[in-house]
Amino acid sequence: MTVDLDKFKKPGKDYYLALGLEGSANKLGVGVIKHNLGQLSSENRAEVLSNVRDTYITPPGEGFLPRDTARHHRNWVVRIIKKSLVDAGIKGTDLDCICFTQGPGMGAPLQSVVIAARTLSQLWKLPLIGVNHCVGHIEMGREITGANNPVVLYVSGGNTQIIAYSRQRYRIFGETLDIAIGNCLDRFARVLKISNDPAPGYNIEQMAKKGKHLVTLPYTVKGMDLSMAGILSYIEVLAKDLFSSNPKKNKNLIDEESGELITPEDLCYSLQESLFSMLVEITERAMAHVQSNQVLIVGGVGSNERLQEMMELMVNERKNGSIHATDERFCIDNGIMIAHAGLLSYRMGQINDLKDTVCTQRFRTDEVFVSWRDD
């Protein structure tokens, strides 16, 4: 790589500090990251100074509504920022820039966080950098795992995409044609009244470990794209019948081999197995298409250990395959990834004027010009 990342360094300072604010969904995250001068490499890693997060948790059976989520973010943003600065041991004026999520995400929560970012920027006289949420995930995943040019599987509550880098853009090779995987899992959790604490997906994963019987579900892969809405409505019907007065009326709720009644754990297990098979399959297709042998999994659903295990089985069968995944600190939405990706933009001189800090609910991964890479 020949990109010069230090064209905009401040005289007499040999490091950069950035604050990142993330609030595109129900997590409010704030983090401080430090880059030293020079290219990031295995010897010159980005340093995480603090990474604080607070999640808006709703009662079982309910999702998070934009209005209430935005209120949560407004109520907590000052406290979380303070804690983040204290954890990092720095003052606001030590920072080089303020980074915020510009999209994609839910409108109201995005807006309440960007207001905090604008205020701090004017208070401390710091430049603002708008960051694409997906690019934040990808850059943080690359930095933490050291994967340099992987096929990225980005799976979260609102996104399901297979991404690969080509000529300064993160290009989308495959994606969901309807709902996202996290959305599918969350909505299934609501039908079963599974707790949203710490996350519905995590609780489904724990229940799935106890599942024994596999229920056959639809399987919809279309080239490198996939569709999940049909699977969700199919399994929702099964789940509702399970709680009816006579669940045995539905033939599909009896295991063919043992004749036992299907349990909610079995449904969790079956849903995970089917959905993840589809994800691994399209990832493999994308890898064959771009002739890559590295996979990086990012996004909240990426912290699921069964998904990581399945991906590993697939990758091990490929020549020189390697898999990279992070844990919940970096997989689940966080402020540090926004700070990291934002700081990369800042070092390339990409700064948003105040009038250009409007958030957008729709912001595709491939719209971002990746100036800090030129491989």
Binding site: P104, E175, L214, K222, R285, M311, M314
Partner: protein
């Protein structure tokens, strides 16, 4: 048995042995074996179901094509449970030794010929023939599902369709338009320099092959505007 290609889903071998005859019926005859290996990451039940469904689907589709006389390899034998299809060998090698797919052929021209060679009359008549073949396919309500320049082989000058793992039957103009759109996009990304001429010729052939192409082409306009990719929320 040599590996011809290895995709994400299947491995393709070339062999000289026939499943029934102990000796090749014709001297130097070759056959293709397409094998979908089981995937360890999938639950065995899901794996068996997918392997079987896709193999059955592909064989049925190929049989139907053969009955209709649309250029495609004919099936010799199949093992649904193990995901094996034994079929006729199609194609001949290019001068550089690659398989004679439309992709390799066009790439070969790009490398070894000047610009005029890439858009010669010969190329034009070849692509028109490909378009006509796709037109005939759609005229019979058959959808390929994964049209790319590497899924069309050249046998001499005759194009042949291969790889029907994602095929389906549909009479909807929408499905046919998407099928063409996928090919257009594939041509744009793999043969970007001459993509406009190539796509024009393909459509020219398509109109010849499919008598009811008007509705499909009108829909294609819509599909192009819409794009296959949509903007997503959070």
């Amino acid at each position: 048995m040599d590996v011809v290609s290895q995709g994400a889903e299947a491995v393709v071998f070339v062999t000289t042995s026939h499943p029934y005859c102990s000796q090749p019926a014709v001297e130097n005859d070759k056959y293709i074996i397409k094998y979908r290996p089981s995937k360890k990451y999938r639950h065995p039940k899901i794996d068996a179901q997918i392997t079987k469904n896709r193999t059955v689907g592909e064989v049925r589709f190929m049989n139907k094509l053969e009955k209709l006389g649309i250029n495609s390899p004919s099936v010799i034998s199949a093992d649904y449970v193990n995901g094996i299809i034994w079929m006729e060998f199609i194609g001949d090698g290019l001068p550089n030794g690659d398989i004679s797919s439309v992709k390799n052929y066009l790439w070969y021209l790009e490398k070894n010929d000047d610009d005029d060679g890439c858009v010669s009359d010969e190329v034009q008549s070849m692509l028109v023939a490909v378009g006509r073949l796709i037109g005939e396919l759609h005229a019979n309500d058959m959808i390929h599902g994964d049209l790319t320049s590497s899924n069309i082989l050249l046998n001499g000058k005759e194009p042949y369709l291969i790889d029907f793992g994602l095929s389906s039957i549909s009479s909807l103009a929408e499905d046919k338009a998407v099928d063409i759109y996928v090919l257009e996009r594939a041509i744009e990304s793999t043969h970007s320099v001459f993509a406009d001429s190539y796509n024009k010729w393909l459509l020219k052939g398509y109109v010849q092959g499919n008598k009811k192409s008007k509705e499909v082409l009108a829909r294609l306009e819509e599909v192009r505007l819409r794009g296959r990719k949509r903007s997503m929320l959070g």
